[in-house]
Symmetry: C2
Subunit: 221 residues, 2 copies
């Protein structure tokens, strides 16, 4: 059985969990307090980050390369399409969320409100929180524009881009930082993703000190 070292609200870990679940790969979850730099964990990943996936005798880090490997080794269901142009668009959006969205929104809201407290780094910086709360509007509007032109974020089929975006938004939704009333298309898109069997375990995550808000696991949020 595969084993994933993770933390529950990390969007990078959630992306890997969603891909594993979509591909019906059984996986044991192990919470890893990576910031404590346990020597055993550092041996598994010198970059000292989660996720780390142990599967088929290999130990892998970095969510991007892990998801590409899973797609190549476990191609069913297909989450990265066939043609170079479609593949580019999926990867562009994966990067958009893991880089730009992460930098402007996830790190400014989730990391300030949750990670700082959990890792003992003090209180949220209100300037960062304000910046993140402002920028998420731009990103929700960009998603609305995409979804006005396409059924899913990267085209007419559900892909890794959708799971990447949903990983970030679900982590932010856990701390009630997503205004679902801003965009009907984004809300409809998230409702479709949220009701997938692969999402079930994400919806029962619990983080000590941060109780789940009632709408978080509600499929009619």
């Amino acid at each position: 059985m595969a084993r994933l070292y993770h933390v529950p609200l990390s969007p990078f870990c959630r992306k890997v969990r969603l891909v594993l679940a979509e591909k019906k790969i059984d996986c044991e979850l192990v919470e890893e307090r990576y910031w404590e730099q346990n020597p055993d964990f550092l041996r598994r990943n010198p970059a000292a980050k989660v996720p780390v996936l142990r599967i088929d005798g290999k130990t892998m880090s970095e969510s991007g390369p892990i998801c590409e490997w899973l797609e190549e080794m476990y191609p069913d269901p297909q989450l990265i399409p066939d043609t170079p142009d479609e593949r580019y668009e999926v990867r562009r959006l994966v990067n958009w969320f893991d880089d730009k969205f992460h930098h402007e929104v996830t790190s400014k809201l989730l990391y300030e409100r949750v990670n700082k407290k959990v890792t003992g780094q003090g209180y949220p910086d209100s300037k960062n929180v304000k910046f993140g709360a402002q920028r998420i509007k731009f990103h929700l509007d960009y998603m609305t524009w995409l979804l006005d032109h396409r059924r899913w974020l990267a085209g007419d089929r559900m892909t890794l881009a959708d799971f990447t975006a949903a990983a970030h938004l679900s982590s932010l939704d856990y701390i009630s930082d997503v205004d679902w009333n801003r965009s009907e298309p984004v809300k409809d898109w998230y409702a479709k993703i949220k009701s997938r069997p692969a999402f079930r375990k994400i919806l029962i995550d619990q983080v000590p000190g941060f109780p789940q808000p009632p709408h978080y696991s509600d499929l009619d949020f």
Copy 2:
């Protein structure tokens, strides 16, 4: 002919330039002062970053997805190998340099010393510069460890991982921030990459206000 919107010392732009040159794709370089947020440029890339590549009627952003697309459309010479395990290792190292190395070293040295001045953001933060100068030692040692076990960074063949690492190191070498005496294996590896025809244009880059040091373009540095 392809057209790349870039800035000369950006390691992400240099990675794409090296891949284009290795694959013998003719490309016109256009310097883009992306921080001025020119509306024409924002239309080409709403993320407001370089590189942006115009090729075969497409406009693409994000160096990672661009390089994967180039590899799929122009497979000769091969820069990402065939098997999922080898592909994973190449992508892991591409991420290592574009994420961890960039965060700990490139952004702390190059961005403080050059980008801040060029974009009018003031003087280098000496705390950051000190941190970067310290962390580059760890990364050079990690490269040494890899090169003690392999001919190239990701295995026995030259790959995208080598060009990614060389893109970062060459930008830092332009401002004399790489101590080549620290590691014989790393110096030998860089000498091999530096002497490739694909590297020539990188070695004639000039940035106003930052004269090229003599060793930068010297193949016997």
